[in-house]
């Protein structure tokens, strides 16, 4: 079998590959800035809250033994035996009949209206409800925690879909050029030009308010342009580098050149622009929920929480907490994006 042609070792070494070493360098440079550390902490906290929202704030315990029966994670398994129960009732029965219960940190679900048997509307922060209750008597902190999930789901989900499409379009435009490039450029320009909110609202109006996924797709449809543009520009820049030309001269296939010599170099800037679009997707989602055309009502979303605050004349916590959470998360995502681009520049 003939040996496949490859570039000399010396050339291979100067290509800034995303090796484990390079990655370690990027991370080291990234964590030099205090702002970057703050951003990373916020992001990890948000991811933690989003992933384990059901363990942090739920109306059913994490695990309990009730009437001789063991229930583990009943909130996730939708156990029939515990239908109609909540943390408070289980605690009362456990105290009466024996057994044990492991309540979550915040023993209220995000959509649970009845707390402690008596409903508190717009309750002030207290020991039971650390951030008070909203106009429907729901625990604000629980809704805030579950809001992380909505925000990140929309942000990351639409970023992934948008980035997939953007990268595919940008890369093929740069690689094949010609008519495809022209069409792709006009497409990108067209979608950049549409005011995102008007477009999404009009489609929501025409199609009717749909599921969360419809929203994710709509936001993705408006925020893929930056990624596409970044991909195309980076590809064109790298395609003229001498080592890519050398690889082409050696007769390597398209896929091989892309995988070994181009993707490692260009994935940094693309990652940066994709990170930016996470932030804008989150802002768009909360804005839509705020004006009442975003995530459907009972699902907790920060924009929806602020809308509740607006309509219920609430003072204080209800109108601050979701806004602060949103601002922090957006700030963190932006900082991460900037920190990454700086760290990548220096490596």
């Amino acid at each position: 079998m003939p040996k496949r042609p490859s570039l000399p070792k010396a050339v291979q070494r100067i290509i800034p590959m995303f090796s484990r070493r390079a990655l370690r360098r990027v991370i080291r440079i990234y964590f030099r800035g205090p702002a970057n550390i703050f951003a990373a902490v916020v992001i990890f906290a948000a991811l933690f809250c989003a992933l384990f929202a059901d363990l942090i704030a739920a109306d059913l315990p994490i695990a309990c033994r009730l009437n001789g029966e063991l229930h583990i994670l009943p909130a996730l398994t939708h156990s029939e035996a515990l239908a109609g129960y909540d943390n408070q009732r289980i605690a009362a029965e456990v105290a009466q009949n024996g057994g044990w219960t492991l309540a979550p940190l915040i023993p209220y679900g995000p959509e649970q209206m009845k707390c402690d048997g008596d409903i508190q509307w717009l309750g002030a922060p207290s020991r039971q409800h650390l951030l008070g209750t909203d106009d429907n008597g729901r625990d604000v902190l629980a809704r805030l925690i579950h809001g992380f999930r909505t925000a990140l789901l929309v942000g990351l989900g639409s970023m992934l879909i948008g980035a997939f499409f953007g990268i595919a379009l940008g890369a093929s435009a740069a690689w094949f050029g010609g008519h495809l490039d022209r069409i792709a450029r006009h497409m990108t320009q067209t979608f950049t030009i549409f005011p995102a909110l008007f477009l999404i609202l009009a489609i929501q109006g025409l199609l009717g308010k749909g599921s969360l996924w419809q929203l994710v797709f709509l936001i993705a449809a408006t925020c893929w342009t930056d990624v596409a543009r970044a991909t195309r520009a980076e590809m064109l820049r790298v395609a003229n580098e001498p080592y890519v030309e050398a690889a082409r001269a050696l007769g390597l296939g398209h896929i091989r050149i892309l995988r070994r010599y181009m993707i490692p170099v260009i994935k940094g800037p693309i990652l940066v622009s994709a990170t930016f679009s996470v932030a804008s997707a989150m802002v768009i989602e909360s804005t839509l929920s705020f004006i009442g055309y975003g995530v459907a009502a009972p699902t907790a979303s920060w924009g929806g929480l602020l809308r509740d605050a607006l309509y219920s004349e609430a003072q204080g916590v209800l109108m601050f907490a979701p806004g602060i959470a949103l601002t922090c998360l957006v700030l963190a995502v932006n900082l991460v994006s900037e920190g990454l681009s700086e760290a990548l520049d220096r490596t």
């Binding site: 702002a35 450029r185 006009h186 497409m187 320009q189 067209t190 950049t192 030009i193 549409f194 005011p195 995102a196 909110l197 008007f198 477009l199 609202l201 009009a202 489609i203 929501q204 109006g205 025409l206 199609l207 064109l236 932030a279 802002v283 909360s286 804005t287 705020f290 004006i291 055309y293 924009g303 602020l306 605050a309 607006l310 309509y311 004349e313 003072q315 109108m319 806004g323 949103l326 601002t327 922090c328 957006v330 700030l331 932006n334 900082l335």
Partner: protein, 552 residues
């Protein structure tokens, strides 16, 4: 410069086309879905609109559920129309339907709705029809006779079929568009009552010529009022021109009638010759849609029948002022702060401002507006807000339209501040970054080495290049600001395009939604052309013949 501009505009044509195509696909996806279950045959008129004797008789079918479908030409094929439908084919179909007992009633109703325009196509066919179909056709003709005023004569005649044959042989030559044009001209110029009488007799047949006469702006008010009155009589749609109407009223009336005609001209017009040939392309959904986009004529609102163009004329300027002022503010703040922070990077001021703008960039404008409304600005100082709740158009519209310009601008101060917060932060950061980059450029170092003062270095040399990235931001920022204006309008109850859009969603006003998407896209296109002009002013290197063209 001009050549550069022209080239930019030409390259934008595919974008405009793309936008039209995109919104077109959107409409068809959305509306096909919503109309699939209503099951209305596009050509059939609403069954509830049974024939009523004159004068309440109406050809008008504004209320029918497929009115908005006709407005968007959903009854036509998408891109190519091999079988164009006009009055001739409609009548021929009705004639076939007359021969089937189960479709007979509908055929009679359709024929009556077409009015006298069917006479040239129906009467010559009468002898060839089977007896029961002929009776049905005569029934339809009797109703038409009541409209055109020869029903008494008809009642006296012993054989109606023979009467109609005679009628056609006597008056058949009147059914010609040249004759109609002449009659209308006589009516307009000489107020000829005989001409009016004859036009009444020709009934719906005169509609194509009548509408093209009305489209003429130079028509004087009396003649126009008379023609519109005639149109009301014929169509049964009660929308006359009041005596002493203002120019605006005339325009609104004209736009409404134009839209009415646009939706049903194929029911009364015979496509002949060239019109028939080009109809393959023009009588399609896509062509109708392109025509609407290019003429910016989006018909009438499905909500209350006002012409969209007039609503836009009221709402658009408010939104443009709001977002334009926000943009201006962003530039006014960003350029100085960007320079100041870039002059002394790393100082306490620079770091403080950097953090301030980083946070400002992350604070969503709707939350800021909410906080401002709750804590900083007492709602009573914004007198159009009757209470604290954001009110949809209710009440505020009138208040805003009454404002004189100075008061209007004063009321915009707080909303503009809220709207521009994100842009101010973004622009400042951009300006700082670009100034820092320029400060290390060779030509700046040269200027410094020549012994120029720091002020001269910055304002003479660095600033001009430092402005370039900021100028290009304008094109990107305009769609963002227009989107942001939607929420700000909602929060402050400003009756701009955004508030109207939210109102339209609640009342399922598709025509407005479609119009607003197209119009906002066009505004941002204009903004991007503007950005290009500014770009060329700041950085003449991009002009053709100066250097290589800028890469995209």
């Amino acid at each position: 410069m001009l050549r550069f501009l022209l080239r930019r505009i030409v390259t934008l044509i595919p974008t405009v086309f793309g936008i039209a195509l995109f919104t077109f696909i959107l409409i068809n996806l959305a509306l096909d879905r919503s109309s699939a279950h209503t099951d209305t045959h596009a050509h059939a008129l609403d069954a509830s609109q049974a024939f009523a004797p004159p004068p309440a008789f109406a050809v008008n079918d504004d209320e029918s559920p497929d009115a908005y479908q006709r407005a968007l030409a959903l009854h036509l094929p998408l891109f190519l129309n091999p079988a164009i439908e006009d009055i001739q084919t409609h009548t021929a179909r009705s004639l076939i339907q007359l021969q089937q007992p189960d479709t007979r009633r509908r055929a009679i109703r359709d024929l009556i709705h077409r009015g006298a325009a069917v006479i040239p196509y129906l009467v010559p066919e009468l002898p060839h029809l089977p007896p029961d179909a002929r009776d049905a056709a005569l029934e339809a003709l009797e109703a038409i006779a009541q409209r055109i005023g020869n029903h008494e004569e008809l009642a006296l005649a012993e054989d109606p079929a023979a009467y109609w044959a005679r009628y056609h042989s006597v008056y058949g030559s009147d059914y010609a568009s040249a004759r109609v044009t002449r009659l209308i001209r006589r009516l307009v110029r000489h107020r000829d009552t005989l001409a009016l009488h004859e036009l009444r007799r020709l009934d719906t047949f005169i509609l194509p010529e009548l509408m093209s006469t009305l489209a003429d702006d130079k028509l004087d008010l009396d003649a126009r009022a008379q023609l519109v009155g005639l149109l009301c009589d014929i169509s049964g749609r009660n929308d006359p021109l009041p005596p002493g109407a203002t120019a605006e009223q005339i325009r609104e009336n004209q736009l409404r009638w134009q839209e009415w005609w646009h939706q049903r001209y194929d029911l009364y017009t015979a496509f002949t010759g060239l019109r028939r040939l080009t109809g393959t392309v023009t009588e399609t959904r896509f062509f109708h849609w392109m025509r609407r986009v290019l003429t910016l004529d989006f018909g009438v609102s499905a909500k209350d029948g006002r012409p969209i163009r007039l609503i836009l004329a009221k709402r658009l300027p408010i939104t443009l002022w709001l977002s334009g002022l926000a943009m201006l503010l962003a530039y006014l703040v960003a350029i100085p702060t960007g320079i100041i922070t870039a002059m002394k990077p790393g100082t306490r001021l620079d770091r403080a401002l950097s953090w301030f703008f980083a946070v400002g960039y992350a604070v969503p404008s709707f939350w800021l507006a909410m906080l401002v409304l709750r804590f900083l600005v007492h709602p009573s100082s914004l007198s159009w807000l009757s209470n604290h709740d954001p009110s949809y158009l209710a009440g505020s519209t009138h208040y805003w339209e009454e404002l004189h310009f100075g008061a209007f601008l004063r009321q915009l101060i707080v909303p503009v501040l809220c709207l521009s917060s994100v842009s101010v932060a973004m622009f400042s950061r951009f300006q700082r970054a670009s100034m820092l980059r320029i400060a290390q450029a060779d030509f700046v170092r040269t200027a410094r080495a020549k012994g120029l003062s720091e002020t001269q270095v910055i304002f003479r040399h660095a600033l001009r290049s430092g402005l370039v990235p900021l100028v290009t931001l304008m094109a990107v920022q305009m769609p963002f600001l227009i989107s942001g204006a939607l929420v700000i309008e909602w929060m402050f109850g400003i009756p701009g395009m955004g508030l109207e859009t939210l109102d339209a969603i609640r009342s399922a006003d598709y025509t407005w939604l479609i119009a607003v998407v197209t119009v906002t896209a066009i505004i941002t296109i204009v903004a991007s052309i503007l950005a290009d002009i500014l770009y060329a002013l700041v950085d003449p290197r991009i002009l053709p013949g100066r250097s290589t063209a800028r890469s995209h």
